[in-house]
Structures are given as C-alpha cells and as structure tokens.
C-alpha cells in the first residue's frame, strides 16, 4: 500500500539524516559558517547520484518527472528568506521533524513555528489576495535550457556537481592543513 511505503521511505530518510549528522544543529551551522561542509556535500552527492539514476530509468519509462514550477520571484525570494531562518535555528522543516523524533526539545518549537508560519502566510494570502503566480514560467529544468537529450544533460550535470563537491573538499583540506 502506497501510504505504508511512504512511511518506510520516510523512516529511511530520517535514519539517513540521523546517521550522517543532518539532524545536528552544529553540523548545519558549521556548514553555513563554512567550517565543515559535510552536509551540503552529502546533499549534492545524493543529487548527482539520483540524477543519473532517474534520467537513466526514465529512458525505459520507469520514472517520470514531477518538476516544481519555476517562479523566479518566489524561488529566489523564498529561498533567501528560508536561508535566514535556516541559519537562525540550524534545522530545516524536514530535519526538525527528525530531530523531534530523536527527542531534541528545541526542534518541536521549530515545527510549531513552521505551522504558525504557514498559518500567517495563508491568512495573509487570503486577506490580501496577493499571488505571485504571474511570475510562473513553467515546469522547467536544465533540459529546457541546454538543448541536448535529457540523459546527456543529466550526465554532464552530475559530473559538474561531483567536480564542485571535490573542489570544495580540496579547499577544505587545504584550509585545515594551513591551520
């Protein structure tokens, strides 16, 4: 049953986040203060692997994409705002849930704050009628920009991401050998 699978996948995701240190405030803050970029490297490596995986499987029809609509105003402004909250608390909406499961008392306040945030946002949207839908530009991905077949773009993309990870890794090691 699909919902049971969701729980199982969630347990896997939560467990992975726990084991890699993603539920730990200090690892997030160390990443954002550029002291230890393990968590971003972990995230980007997973993206590179998933990307190759899904674009290969897509060739044989096993995977179909579900891209979130690009909205430059929303994606960028929302991301900038998100980043501030992220730096303040050291959890994200997902890791705060996992941390709550782990028993961290501060995480539950992040979840509560998140619920309050959704409430206020929806209320504001309702009463002012504001909408940024005008800035929607469609469910775009890189294939819409780089006009090659999607599998090739995915390969180039994944290689580029891995290169970035290793450059960051190299920089970190140089930094620590200087100190």
């Amino acid at each position: 049953m699909s919902l049971l699978l969701a729980v199982i996948f969630g347990i896997g995701f939560g467990y992975i986040l726990y084991r890699v240190g993603g539920l730990d405030y200090r690892n997030i803050i160390n990443a954002l203060t550029l002291k230890d970029l393990s968590i971003p490297k972990f995230m980007i490596l997973s993206v590179a692997i998933t990307s190759v995986g899904i674009f290969s499987l897509r060739l044989i029809g096993l995977v179909s994409l579900d891209v979130i609509t690009a909205n430059p105003l929303g994606n960028i402004l929302g991301g900038l705002i998100f980043g501030i909250g992220f730096a303040l608390v050291g959890y994200c909406p997902g890791t705060s849930i996992g941390a709550m499961g782990e028993g961290k008392k501060d995480a539950r306040y992040t979840v509560l704050g998140g619920i309050a945030g959704v409430f206020i946002y929806t209320l504001a949207q309702q009463y002012t009628g504001f909408s940024i839908a005008a800035f929607d530009i469609g469910k775009l991905n890189l294939v819409d920009i780089i006009h090659l077949n999607s599998f090739s773009v995915a390969i180039i993309y994944s290689i580029a991401l891995v290169l970035v990870i290793y450059m960051v890794d190299y920089w970190e090691q140089k930094k620590s050998s200087i100190n």
Binding site: Y18, N71, G79, L88, I97
Partner: protein, 173 residues
C-alpha cells in the same frame, strides 16, 4: 554519536533511496505536510475561517482537499526514523540546547526556544513563497535538474551563509 556516516556514505545511500522514491511515483517533500497539518488544526477550530483550498493552493501541494497524503506519511516516517536512530545508536541524554548555541548565546533555554520558533516560522514563510523546502526543491528538485530547485538552493545558501557568519562568527574567524 560514535558511528557517524561519512558524507560519501550518506550521499550514496540517500541517492539510491531517492531513486526508489522516484520509481514509486512519488517525491520527497515536507511543506505540503506542514500545510495540511496547519489546515487540519485550523479546520478543527473553525470550519469557514480559511477555505480548505487555500491550504493546498498555489505553490505547495497539488490537491484541493485536505487529506493525510503520501507526503504526510513520509514526514511521519522521518519522525520515526529520527527516533529509531536515537534508540539504536544514541547514548545518553539528548541535549535540550545544542552546546555551540550555549557557547554563543549562553545557557538561556527560552532564548533558544524563541530562536527555534522564529527560525521555523521564517523558513515556512520562505518555503510557501518558494513552493518547497530543502527536501522538495534541493534533494528532489535538483535531482530532476529543476530550475525552481536550483534557484532555491542557491538562494538558501546565498542568505544562509552570511546570516550564519554574522550570527555565529562574532569571536573572529
């Protein structure tokens, strides 16, 4: 925690898990679950205060009805996953306030609670505006090479890094 996974191990395991999630026809995300939960709570107090469609309208969520969705169950799983991790591997008491926070701000539980609440508040405002969070935009979206995910991901670090440096590196680099 003694047996911590390296970022390489974690990246590979998550990469594979995420592929399985795509094969199942779903994708990672948490903000729709937040919206649905908030909607349920509001509906509990007042049927008509905010129409049901507002919760899942716009950029978060794809159905017009409140329901315990796939993503809600995924988020429940994340909670259990954290719990399991602690039960299997964790030793000792789980801290109330992280030590580095205490070093920076002092042993002030109520301030930490305030930070935690405000941080969550700000993040979900940003997530609603952006149409997703780190799970849906970065882990899921960037795997699909989505422009929305790429823009969001860059923006999060573009503000998160300066914000964190300002907040935490007061005592010199």
């Amino acid at each position: 925690m003694k047996t911590k996974w390296s970022w390489v191990t974690g990246g590979i395991v998550l990469g594979v898990l995420n592929i399985l999630i795509f094969i199942s026809g779903n994708h990672l995300g948490t903000t729709t679950a937040y919206a649905q939960t908030t909607g349920y709570i509001t509906q509990f107090f007042s049927d008509s205060f905010i129409p049901i469609s507002s919760w899942t309208a716009g950029t978060c969520g794809t159905t017009g009805i409140l329901q315990v969705s796939w993503q809600w169950m995924l988020v429940l799983g994340i909670f259990i996953g954290g719990f399991l991790g602690k039960v299997i591997h964790g030793k000792g008491v789980t801290e109330i306030i992280p030590d580095p926070w205490i070093e920076r701000f002092g042993n002030r539980p109520r301030l930490r609670t305030t930070h935690a609440f405000i941080g969550g508040f700000i993040m979900l405002i940003g997530a609603r505006l952006a149409g997703g969070c780190t799970s849906s935009h970065i882990i899921s979206g960037m795997s699909q090479m989505a422009i929305s995910g790429l823009l969001f991901g860059v923006a999060v670090f573009a503000s998160g890094i300066p914000a964190a440096i300002l907040l935490y590196r007061r005592n010199g680099r």
